[in-house]
Amino acid sequence: MKRTILFLCAGALGLAQNAEIKRPIVVTPGEKPPIAVPDFRGAGDAQPLMGTFNRVVWNELQNSGQLKLIPKTMYPLTVPQQPADFRPPVNGKSQGPWFSDWSSPPVNGRYLAFGYTAAQNGQLTLYGWLYDVQQTSTSSAQLLAKVYVGSPDESGSRKVAQEFAADILKLFGGSSLMGSRIYFVSDRTGHKEIWSMNYDGSDQKQFTSYRTITTFPVVSSDGTKIAFTTYPMRAATPGHPATEDQPKIYVHSLETGRKLVYLNQNASMNAASDFMPDNRHLLIYSTASAGISQIFMTDIDGGNFHRVTNTRSLEVEAKANPKTGADIVFLSGRGGTPQVYRMNIDGTDVARLTTGEGDCANPAWSPDGQHIAFVWSRGFEPGNFNIFIMDVASQELVQLTHGAGRNENPNWAPDGVHIVFSSKRGRNTQIYTMLADGTQVQQLTTQGNNEKPVWTKGTQ
């Protein structure tokens, strides 16, 4: 009964429980769409939760880096809470709140997010809209109209706020980071182990406890698996102390946490560098066959081991184009110093992408397969790395960090806009995120040394 009432209410407001989202908005490259996001108010018991709600909506949209949020100080005093609040002018005369309040100076907005919340029937309900305020009627202006529900508390308030923000971002072709996690290496227990955390650094949890050296994590794009390199400990026997075995690849399920079967080659060194976009193959580097590190591909369980590079140099860190899976970037010493190369997956068409000066490392594709991030010592002594982004087609470069020191292992967020990396800016190495233009740098870790972060897709 209660459910039916809710539905009818929603219907009366012109909303369905899961209203479809209209076509994605085309964004002019280089321009961030200006959006106004006034504070929402909550009816009755919902009002105490609105501080959290408004802060989360604002931060999610701001941190995405995809929108230009207009400062709230510019906003008109009267803020609409539902479509019916808008009154089109008659004969040029204002009849009440209208789109022009938001599209004209001083706001100069293009988009407006508005709505309200109510606490009823034991849940928190959000009614949310996104309008293009440069249109002339409410029907043509409406881009998003949706109802969200959550528990009537802080956590529920946070949830509906994140979901609303995620839907807005989707409209602009972007994605929310909601639900995405970062896997990384931490030595805070005294051993290097794999850990994970939310994309904002909250909820840091230990994932492995092998009590040896465990490092170089890579995650599948579907978020179901992680592969890493570990030195398995061999137990002590009478007269012999415990020793480490040669580095091997382990694969774990991210859903159950359990170790999965992976058959390592019988070689002195095996390390994983990337899952293929089909999530059924692994790119690895190994000393099998050749006695020197070369790039190979295997099935997800280690079977069908076959060779990708064929040189007498050190070949490491192969990453597959996430869009096509048809080509790879990798790090090679074939030119004398470690440089980034690109190659078709069948071994044809090898090209060096970096200039050849200095040392390079850690190439990583953007989700759209158009750019790579990598590190380079250009301008500094070996061992000092800065993060660069290269357009793969044009080889145009953008430098994102600029100091001496070590900035390493850049990896892209699923939104294609954020980059996570590690940096030694003090005594220890910590993990940071930033936008792909180098701005909005945020530190995520503080305890011990933390490095080698990789970003899994979120739940959205």
């Binding site: 026997t237 075995d245 002195s268 580097y285 590190s293 050190l314 110093t337 470690p338 040392d359 070996p382």
Partner: protein, 263 residues
């Protein structure tokens, strides 16, 4: 004639001869003068008196030694023309000293000859044999792992390289000798060649470079005859630094191949 006839004949002849001589001998007695007495001995005048060779003194100092030590023979001789000491000393002058190194108790004989006669003298050098060394201790010897740890040497590399340079050749050559010795006396022992890098390159590239260094060191040892099936390689990349300072001194210490005990 037959044999027996001949015998009869010779016997008869012999008997006849004997009878004839017996008959003649007593009847052949003539008077023969007694032989003249021998002449009286000619008394030579006594020769002038020549002193005999004489050993005045013949000593050994010290007369008792430990094996490996020496003693000095001293002598003084008169009236001799030909003097010698045995046991390898040989001809000597009438006065002299000689250092001798007998390995066991030896009696030296000095012989002096002269026109007047000879003389000999002996002296004995007593050689004490040292007490036997104590038997080997039955306590624990160095284990193979301890021997390896104490006596092996690291091989060092240039930046971004895995070539065996001259100082590394020396170190690995010594290590080869050490390993052959350890393997011979400990059939179960195996060794691990670890490859390490300095902190400057990326961890991923250094994992591969460390492996190449370990491989190069192992190949060198095998070429010198060390059993390859008892050597395993493991790269630690830059994960196990010896030191952490950011200077060439520390970086060089980390660019190394190191031997450790296997399982």
């Amino acid at each position: 004639m037959s044999v027996s006839d001949r015998l009869h004949a010779s016997r008869f002849a012999a008997t006849l001869l004997v009878l004839t001589l017996a008959a003649v001998a007593p009847g052949c007695k003539k008077k023969v003068p007694p032989p003249p007495p021998p002449p009286a001995p000619h008394t030579e005048p006594a020769p002038p008196s020549v002193a005999r060779a004489s050993v005045n003194s013949f000593t050994a100092e010290p007369s008792t030694i430990e094996r490996g030590q020496s003693s000095t023979l001293s002598w003084s001789i008169s009236n001799a023309t030909d003097m010698s000491i045995d046991h390898g000393v040989g001809a000597v002058q009438s006065q002299g000293q000689r250092q001798v190194f007998p390995t066991s108790t030896t009696t030296y004989t000095l012989t002096a000859n002269g026109p007047g006669g000879s003389d000999t003298r002996t002296v004995t050098v007593t050689v004490n044999t040292p007490p036997p060394p104590p038997p080997p201790s039955t306590g624990p010897r160095l284990s193979s792992a301890e021997m390896l740890q104490q006596q092996s040497q690291d091989a060092y590399f240039d930046y971004d390289k895995s070539d065996i340079r001259n100082d590394a050749r020396d170190a690995l050559t010594r290590d080869a000798g050490l390993l052959k010795q350890i393997f011979a006396q400990d059939p179960n022992f195996t060794v691990v060649v670890e490859g390490h890098c300095d902190e400057r390159g990326s961890a991923e590239y250094n994992l591969a470079l460390g492996d190449k260094r370990a491989s190069a060191a192992k190949d060198f040892l095998v070429q010198l005859g060390v059993a390859g099936d008892r050597i395993k390689t493991i790269s630690y990349g830059k994960e196990r630094p010896q030191c952490t300072e950011a200077n060439e001194d520390c970086w060089q210490k980390n660019r190394r191949a190191h031997l450790s005990a296997g399982q």
